[in-house]
């Protein structure tokens, strides 16, 4: 069984120092490591693509702005997750982007849309698409807090509980039990279909 705790990144301090001097390669290694986490946090708040893009950009610009004073380099993932959450909440509070009704494509819409069109991948699979569709359908019937927690947990690479805690402002100790409860519900529903 894979533990969903990732190892601390002892090299973060060194990579951050290099990035702080403008080292593009060092910076890109940070982005590549955490871009999916930042994106997943934004999407976990049900932000549309355009808003999630803005939150992601704002989060990365904020890191550049504070790259010299990130206090604990080993908590960089948590710092980014916290920043993405704050930017997402601030944007939601302002009422989201001014887009024509119907133009916004949220996470759900994107997935539902692409799951519905099996033309994209004709052979790979009908079977996989069916399994995905069933799984996704059940996922969508979970409570909002469960969907949000799981959306962050399925970031790639898998986030540490500390990062999930920062992303959702939840006590670290509550994540394991909540995860178990949410996945339990999901598995029961899948098992009964």
């Amino acid at each position: 069984m894979i533990a969903f705790e990732t190892m601390a990144e002892p090299e973060n301090a060194e990579v951050l120092r290099a990035a702080a001097t403008g080292d593009q390669k060092a910076w890109e290694s940070i982005v590549d490591r955490y871009a999916n986490l930042v994106w997943s946090v934004a999407r976990s708040f049900q932000l549309a693509q355009s808003d999630a893009s803005d939150v992601s950009q704002a989060t990365w610009l904020r890191l550049v702005e504070h790259i010299d004073d990130v206090r604990d380099p080993d908590k960089l993932g948590s710092w980014l997750a916290t920043t993405a959450r704050r930017e997402a909440l601030a944007l939601l509070r302002r009422g989201g982007r001014d887009v024509p009704a119907g133009a916004a494509t949220d996470f759900v819409g994107t997935l539902a849309g692409s799951l519905a069109s099996s033309d994209e991948e004709p052979d790979a699979g009908v079977l996989r698409d069916e399994r995905d569709a069933a799984l996704w359908h059940e996922f969508r019937t979970l409570s909002e807090p469960c969907q949000q927690l799981l959306r962050v947990l399925i970031a790639d690479p898998p986030p540490s509980y500390a990062e999930v805690s920062a992303a959702l402002d939840l006590p670290v100790g509550s994540i394991g039990p909540t995860r178990q409860r949410c996945l339990g519900t999901l598995r029961r529903r899948l098992g009964s279909t």
Binding site: A19, V38, S53, Q57, E87, R93, G95, D156, R187
Partner: protein, 148 residues
């Protein structure tokens, strides 16, 4: 019944294929290190009307008031969004001769302040922006990034 880890892996697999980080978002993140500006003092956001309002409409036409302070300069800005474009009217105090640069990943524009320290930018693309104030005499200041 399938296991917890198997469910999570399957969901991660779906998200990876159906909701990956868009290429342009990843490219913007990789390019953002170019916005490092270690030579200018940071003017921090000291007030934001959007943070104190319970419900505000982004792009709804009501102005957002922002104040920044740093490097002995105060920069007050009123940002009004209409149909995705933002008008920014601002004032630098004390009013000293200065150039103001509106910086944004979607393009930068600049202007000079008038005799009373005022400046204006029109047609700003909504998104992350910051201001860089370059007094004719004295050190440059840039504001925190704000998402308009």
């Amino acid at each position: 019944m399938i296991g917890e880890e198997e469910v999570l892996r399957a969901l991660r697999d779906i998200a990876g294929r159906r909701d990956p980080v868009p290429d342009n978002v990843l490219a913007a993140a990789r390019a953002s290190i170019a916005w490092r500006d270690p030579d200018a003092a940071l003017a921090q956001l000291t007030a934001d009307s959007a943070a104190s309002r319970l419900v505000a409409v982004r792009g709804g036409g009501s102005p957002r008031l922002l104040s920044f302070f740093g490097g002995s300069l105060t920069i007050d800005v009123q940002a009004t969004t209409r149909a995705g474009a933002v008008e920014m009217v601002g004032e630098v105090s004390p009013a000293v001769p200065a150039r103001v640069v509106l910086e944004s990943p979607s393009g930068s524009v600049e202007t000079d302040v008038d005799g009373e320290g005022r400046f204006r930018f029109q047609g700003v693309v909504a998104g992350s922006v910051r201001l860089r104030c370059e007094p004719v005499e004295g050190a440059a200041v840039h504001t925190e990034w704000v998402l308009l």
